[in-house]
Symmetry: D2
Subunit: 322 residues, 4 copies
């Protein structure tokens, strides 16, 4: 971690060559950090990932890209799908209705914790933990087919090549018993309606979308552009919803490391145990990283390392305003 | 709450008269909302507050002020002192050392919870909950007298009139048994050094500083100015530390309502059960509010209502960037 | 509660008429106490019970019976089936194997708590809470059909008339989502093997057995006779297993009221939310009570009241030895 | 553990030579088992104990004793003092008043847990965990001096030689911060009155009484004799209170191993981390063991091993009745 007592000279965003150099440094730092992490092992398919792989893709509104390393490898989106599911819920079901079923508070607990659910409050604490994401999915399942959600995912990630990774999906379905337990718990508390088997099945499918660092940069770019595809001008989701999503990403996006990421990097982001991180940056710009070597909290160690360097040198931290 | 589907026309910061009008609307909304809250009752001195009182003070770098309602009444700073204590720790003890004793993660638990402390991790989760603030105070107590901390509080709040409120201090000391329990628990886990009685005594004193909405606006302004007194140019605390403080305020500043405040208002802020809220805004500008009518989570209901209106109309939410 | 400072003259078991009078007093006390309780409401079928009903049946080895009040009404056995399931597990799977899958510690938690399961230890704490009983059922389900378990239940309760209560079973199955959540949680922790749907289905069936106060007295009598049917001489389960079952009943048999029951009554017993209590007494004698008016902990208030009186006057408390 | 499927031939209590032989076997088993445990390390004084030491003392009403191994070494009574404190509370303050301040439920939690205290119920769950014992001590502290409590301890243990172990007391006082935290927590919840410093000081003193295996056998004998000194005929505490104490010992006496001890040994007992176990047996007989090698739950491994053998062979388990 870069200790904030030492204030390096910042690189202005108006100097493209210098910006590219900062990204390259970030990429190198991230790639080097991968050796300190390990690929997720809790589902067999994830353990097969190359823990040394690292890619970084930045995509600006004007179409300019910075493409470093392993940015075309497809990997499963995992928890980053929670952002897409929340976007669909907000767009089609609305803010008020969505947040009557799930709170928007960070928990400090592990992503698959059920502690607060049973001790504090029947509604899940936020849509970025498993319980909250399953709850959101229960709102979507009666309304949307998987194909419709996939279509929305492709649009918001600016990537028509996103498909279901069948082997990850099977692996998720086979090992997803804790998520089934969470779904039945929500059902038993009558905060969730519907069929837990169908809801978790759709949840597993959305976790199994095959994305790349580039897809995540696309998602970050649309969020940075307040919900509009900057190349077609198409409005995918209203700016107010995007603001909400980014706020929730900031406080809850990196599991129980969200607070530290907020201090160190200071950008709305969401990680997945498949190794991805999506980040929405002013500019506007989206950044996607891929590095399946994870730290102890389940976040891509290469991604965090790279983003910290870049945010610091380019002064992108949201609390660097004056 | 203003549901973000309906996007009102924003008022530009460059139109001073319109900005003033937005503040006045915010003030009126906040004042009206006070009837839905109640003054804190857990220490007798706080219960004496006038639950209908409301004041809003905004202070810009150029010296311009917006002064509405009850902005000169002195009330106890309570949890907002946690921001000042953290600032002292970062300035004199440093980032690395401070955060080796306390984490920077939001908890979703009540401000005086000891659950995570005993179940998850010996170190308190963040400096904005009681356990974390007492831990921070244990780092300061051997190094600083109360008079020195008071002097720093006066400087960073731009208010030489801050004094110890003796009756609140006595009330805190008499009823602070849970904080003593927390201190002994930290001591028993060997994460805290020093004498729990002296540490909690200093903690109670800092909670009992008499501030006004104006003092809090001063504190917010210094934080908005990256740690510099904009009128004297004196550097009170380094910009990197201020960024850290604002990040922690954003994720942890309003108790277990921080996530919702982050979505609704989107500004770094800290509340106290005395009725105050401090807020650091780009501009740069500081905002202080006073309204002892609290909501169920212990936050000033008038303050939140006013800040939400102002942030929305002036497009101050940190994730409103493009 | 009878406060134990005042030591009444005890009635010797060798005076049958006096013993009968004590039982009658106990019955009257129990019946009168029913007005302070309410029938279980968490499944609709249970709520239909007559909260004023009360019956008490005592059955001695020599065939003598004391039959008071409503002892023939059939009601669902509910949690008392946990005793039968544990007996089957011990008899056919053995002590060592059974207790490698479930502990034998009281919890102080509610019967359907999952707290310890997630915080402390993957194996359920004891076979008398839902998690432990479902775990025990997962050991039985591959080996036994419902008909076989029913046959064992009839034998150990000395009651060939026990049948499945179809409407209670349907009600259980419809509202048993929390038990399903527990089963999936156990499965996810890999402490439970097998199919959660089939396991919980068999568990629901066993909870829905139709028993009477007389059936429970039969069960208590067999336990008091160290596992032998005193009328046929048939060995149903080994004495060492019976000792184990009675120990677990003593520490865990009345939910989170077990400790208080142990002090007040001092006999191995098991309650069910259907209103039954089974009790094994020296003599040997079995006692069954039926009273669907429950106290706040889910135990039959009439049953506890009657048993306390009887245990006290007849000096049956296991710690009344000298 | 002796698996209860294999039923050995029991030794009748009427054959003194055979009984002595069973005790000798139990002693040898216990001594041999010590190598699997370790002395308590959480206070420095306890760590100095000889982990290989083992003693067993049985004392019958008629004065007959069985004295094996290290039965005269003095060691600190630790948690076994909770039994004495409870006896004093019941005798002088009464059942109703005592149990209005503390429950009588086993917890399944560690002896120094505060979890239930903060989550479930303000009153401690039972007088055998630290929180409950401190609460009981708060009832005694205004009424009794240490000297008076010591005098009662000497009387109920049939041992005038009991003294305060000054070095253990100092060690307790120096390292007892968690107990102080518990006391302040109870105070903050207003379930405890009085001065936490004085209450914990008296609690530490009572934990530091120097006893021997023989003293504990004396305590067990008095409890087995329903509260009367069998040699002088002096009534120390009423039989109803003794029954209560033995019930609480059965369900809560061996920390979170109480349930297993109830199954395996089936006798009311209380352990201390100093290595002692007291046990009250029909006969009447008291048994005291000393073996500072502890198992993972903090109970003397030699003591449990010896008691299990003896209870099994002599058929002392309270649920071995017919």
């Amino acid at each position: 971690m870069i200790y904030p007592t030492y204030e390096q000279k910042h690189v202005p965003l108006t100097d493209p060559a210098a910006v590219r150099e900062v990204f390259r440094e970030g990429y190198e730092n991230g790639r080097a950090a991968c050796e300190y992490g390990t690929a997720a092992s809790y589902i067999p398919e994830l353990a097969k990932a190359d823990a040394a792989a690292f890619g970084l893709y930045a995509w600006k509104k004007d179409g300019e890209v910075i493409d470093l390393g392993d940015t075309t490898t497809r990997f499963s989106i995992q928890s980053i799908s929670k952002v897409i599911n929340l976007a669909v819920a907000l767009k089609f079901i609305g803010f008020r209705e969505t947040f009557s079923h799930v709170l928007m508070e960070p928990t400090g607990d592990a992503f698959n914790s059920i502690l607060k659910l049973d001790l504090v409050e029947n509604r899940p604490f936020n849509p970025m933990i498993n319980a909250g994401a399953i709850q959101v999915m229960s709102l979507l399942e009666p309304e949307f087919s998987f194909e419709e959600l996939l279509e929305f995912a492709r649009a918001i990630c600016l990537d028509d090549g996103i498909e279901l990774n069948e082997s990850v999906y099977r692996s998720e379905a086979e090992t997803g018993d804790r998520n089934r337990a969470i779904a039945w718990l929500l059902k038993s508390k009558e905060v969730m309606k519907g069929d837990p088997d169908r809801i978790t099945d759709l949840y597993f499918k959305m976790c199994s979308l095959n994305v790349s660092a580039k897809s995540l940069a696309g998602l970050g770019l649309v969020l940075a552009c307040e919900g509009t595809n900057p190349f077609t001008g198409k409005h995918l989701i209203a700016p107010g919803y995007v603001r909400t999503i980014k706020s929730v990403m900031f406080t809850c996006g990196l599991y129980d490391e969200s607070g530290e990421f907020g201090v160190k990097v200071g950008l709305p982001a969401k990680s997945g145990v498949g190794g991805g991180i999506v980040c929405a940056v002013k500019g506007p710009m989206g950044i996607g990283t891929y590095g399946p070597a994870l730290d102890a909290k389940g976040n891509s160690i290469g991604g965090i390392t790279a983003l910290e360097h870049i945010a610091h040198r380019l002064r992108l931290h949201v609390f660097d305003y004056t």
